[in-house]
Amino acid sequence: MKSKIINMADKTSDAMDRLLASAFKSEPIADDGFSKRIVSRIRRRIWINRLALPVAVLVGAAFALKPAVQLVSALLPLLNVVPVEIASAPMEFLPQMQLIVLGGMAFAAGITLLKVLEET
């Protein structure tokens, strides 16, 4: 008797499940470029992420260049009070600093270019 009740309950439950499954059933939605749109958005985001650091470096360097030059020119007269042997070292180093900054920027640009070529 007990098993009969359980079987009846299962049968009812199955029937209810079938009814619900048919009510919730929906037709598949065609892609129609949906996935392509998302992939292109993802690629765009990858690009933005890749370019963010080099662009930030370039912008930062552009902003920092003028104050840095002013600072160096302000400090230059002070070098007269420093002995010649000590003063000559940074004087030689200063032109190299610009080269280092430019080299860094060129390096960042080169890395970005390589990534671009790799991606395409």
Partner: protein
Amino acid sequence: MVASQDAAAFGELIRRHQSQVRNFLRKLARDEALADDLAQDCFLHAWDKIHTYSGTGSFIGWVLKIAYTTFLQSKRKSKRYDEILEQAGHEMDRAAVTQQNAPEVEMDLDTLLAALNEQERVIMIFSYACGLSHREISEATELPAGTVKSIIHRAKEKIRTQFEIENHQYG
């Protein structure tokens, strides 16, 4: 392959699962355009979080969890959602009245969902529209599996009572 952030491979996963995700969100949001926008956001979030996918559960279960979170976030933020829901509510009420006046008409989803509260609606959609297991629903909704089972049971009882479905009717 996807874990190494391969956009093309991820595109293939989107192609495979977009229909299920969009259908899920359309049932929740009751607005096709809004649902498709949410589906796009969902896949973008999935891309950002792909490194957290362990590969142990089903991918669709994992994406649907993200879809549900995206839906909840949008609901909290968007006024548009409230407007749509209000409109959908009126339509559901109308559908329910029509259903009561014509019981022989086949039960449609709007009518059926109108009988349920939001939590029951979400769990029933997960279960019957998406075919997720109780464990997957439990993970997606962050509810204990026992609670999910009892909510499904309660929702089915509500539907059975509301629409006067006799035990023999569909047996």
